[in-house]
């Protein structure tokens, strides 16, 4: 098992994944570095990758014409960036930007999608992992929407 495969296996996101799949995923991975403020991907762009943060922090942002750039969430080491590669039309829904010097592992989604289509066990496993991630983020987003820290006297 290569060092990269071992590193991937140690990530919570890939914990318990079959070694043969770890190898396949490692073959689709390449390192990427971003300087502070540098764009990683932009809303509307082709979602042909997903990322795992190795070092640094990434902000997911959305632009609003009346409020400017709004940060929705920040992601840190060992966390996954991007799920739009999973479903057509494979378009990024948000911007992603490095908040500081950031090292990422970029995974080639085209390669992975083809592998998932060929091996449904891999596809099902990956889908479960991403579904869990998306449910966790959906719950966090709902919690965020509750605006629990607002002053009750302000009427929100």
């Amino acid at each position: 098992m290569s060092a990269l495969e071992q590193d991937l296996g140690a990530l919570p996101f890939f914990a318990g994944l079959e070694p043969v799949y770890l190898r396949l995923i490692a073959e689709c991975a390449s390192p990427a570095c971003y300087d502070p403020g540098e764009s990683i991907f932009q809303q509307g762009g082709q979602a042909d990758r997903f990322y795992i943060v190795g070092e640094g922090r990434v902000a997911l942002e959305i632009f609003s014409s009346d409020r400017g750039i709004l940060t929705i969430q920040t992601l840190a080491s060992r966390e996954v960036v991007g799920a739009s590669w999973l479903f057509p039309p494979y378009i990024w829904q948000y911007d992603a930007r490095a908040l500081e010097f950031t090292r990422l592992l970029a995974f080639n989604a085209v390669c992975l999608r083809a592998a998932c289509d060929q091996d449904h066990d891999l596809g099902y496993d990956l889908m479960k992992r991403f579904a869990r991630l998306m449910v966790e983020r959906l719950n966090a987003a709902r919690f965020q929407l509750l605006d629990v820290y607002a002053n009750p006297a302000s009427g929100r």
Binding site: P12, R57, A59, R67, G68, I69, L70, T71, I72, Q73, T74, A76, S77, R78, E79, L99, N139, A140, F143, Q144, L146, D147, V148, Y149, A150, N151, P152, A153, S154
Partner: protein, 357 residues
């Protein structure tokens, strides 16, 4: 347990008024006797300044029992005097007012005479009385080791807290307390300590952090996760920066919404828990914030492997007497002002999700 939120939307906030006594008496507490007791306390507040001893006079005058207290005491008279003492506010003078956010202020109080309340433990609260307006429970947010001065962080959410936020140096307030249970600062010795604060919930947790830092070598990792609505809503910003400079403390601050110059985390507190390194089997978690936030936080802590009896929450209920007499703050078997505000999740699990209406 930060500033209590239920001030009645403009209704008088009873501290001494009999209107606060519920018609349905919870548990074993006798509201009728208690309301008479409150009347007596109120009527004698003024005479306290006079020559008679109001505090013993009340006992002679009424001589009734307070269920649940008299039974446990060896001497009824002493118990009555003790309770009455706890019902009469001690005058404190505002020494300093610091604006934390647009609606939240920290006030420092010193006793106006030699009389002062007893030493407090982290997590306890006082009843603060704005004379002529009302009385509310407010957590003590200062350092327990600094005697003499009381620090309270108050958010203006109603008429009483607005009055407390409007005070200026030299004003006088009434203080009763300290009341309630404390954070298990010594109970966490030997393990990791994780503090999760949401919004104003940092105020009652700050004394616990002081306690942990003072005895730093007795603990493993110490981490604070603090969530606020926006960067502008963060409490104690300068102090947080100071804490961050401690290499043996992990301080993570996140906001629900950030724009412009904010370079920190954005997202809810629960998203940061999984990023920390701690030993779940040896970790004590202290959690305070809005109840919804605490529910999400507990779920995440349990997911990370903490046991229910090592997760401590500070509850917020409608407290009036502060001593478990009036029953306003009853939650199942607990009178939150006396048995809480700090309780374990294992004790609260059955009761936290109960709807009140």
């Amino acid at each position: 347990m930060p500033t209590r939120l239920r001030e009645g939307d403009g209704a008088p906030v009873p501290g001494f008024g009999i209107s606060s006594i519920p018609s349905r008496q919870p548990g074993e507490h006798n509201g009728l006797l208690f309301s008479a007791f409150l009347c007596a306390s109120a009527s004698l507040r003024e005479s306290k300044k006079g020559k008679i001893s109001a505090r013993t006079g009340i006992f002679v005058l009424f001589g009734f029992g307070v269920p649940g207290h008299n039974d446990r005491a060896s001497g009824g008279a002493e118990v009555h005097v003790g309770i009455l003492n706890a019902m009469i506010p001690i005058h404190y003078v505002v020494q300093r007012v610091c604006r934390e956010t647009r609606d939240t202020f920290t006030i420092e109080l010193a006793p106006s005479t030699e009389e002062s309340i007893a030493a407090f433990e982290p997590g306890q609260f006082n009843m603060l009385y704005s004379f002529g307006i009302g009385e509310v429970p407010v957590s003590i947010s200062g350092d327990p080791a600094e005697s003499g001065c009381l620090v309270h962080t108050i958010r203006a959410v109603g008429p009483v807290t607005q009055a407390l936020c409007d005070v200026t140096r030299g004003d006088t307030l009434g203080v009763r307390g300290p009341f309630g249970t404390a954070w298990p600062v010594s109970g966490a010795v030997g393990g990791d300590a994780l503090i999760v604060a949401g919004g104003l919930g940092l105020a009652p947790l700050r004394p616990a952090l002081y306690g942990l830092m003072r005895n730093r070598s007795a603990y493993g990792r110490i981490a604070l996760i603090y969530g606020a609505r926006s960067p502008e809503d963060l409490l104690y910003r300068r102090e947080i920066e100071k804490w961050r400079s401690h290499l043996d403390l992990q301080i993570e601050v996140t906001v629900d919404g950030g724009r412009g110059e904010w370079r920190g985390h954005v997202g809810v507190v629960t998203t940061l828990i999984g990023r920390l390194v701690f030993d779940p089997a040896r970790t004590t978690a202290l959690v305070c914030g809005p109840e919804v936030m605490m529910r999400f936080t507990v779920l995440e802590l349990l997911k990370q492997g903490l046991s229910e009896d090592r997760v401590f929450l500070s509850l917020e209920r409608n407290m009036k007497c502060g001593m478990g007499l009036c029953g306003h703050c009853q939650l199942g078997p607990f009178l939150v002002c006396r048995d809480g505000p700090i309780l374990t999740y294992s004790a609260l699990r059955r009761w936290m999700d109960r709807r009140e209406a």
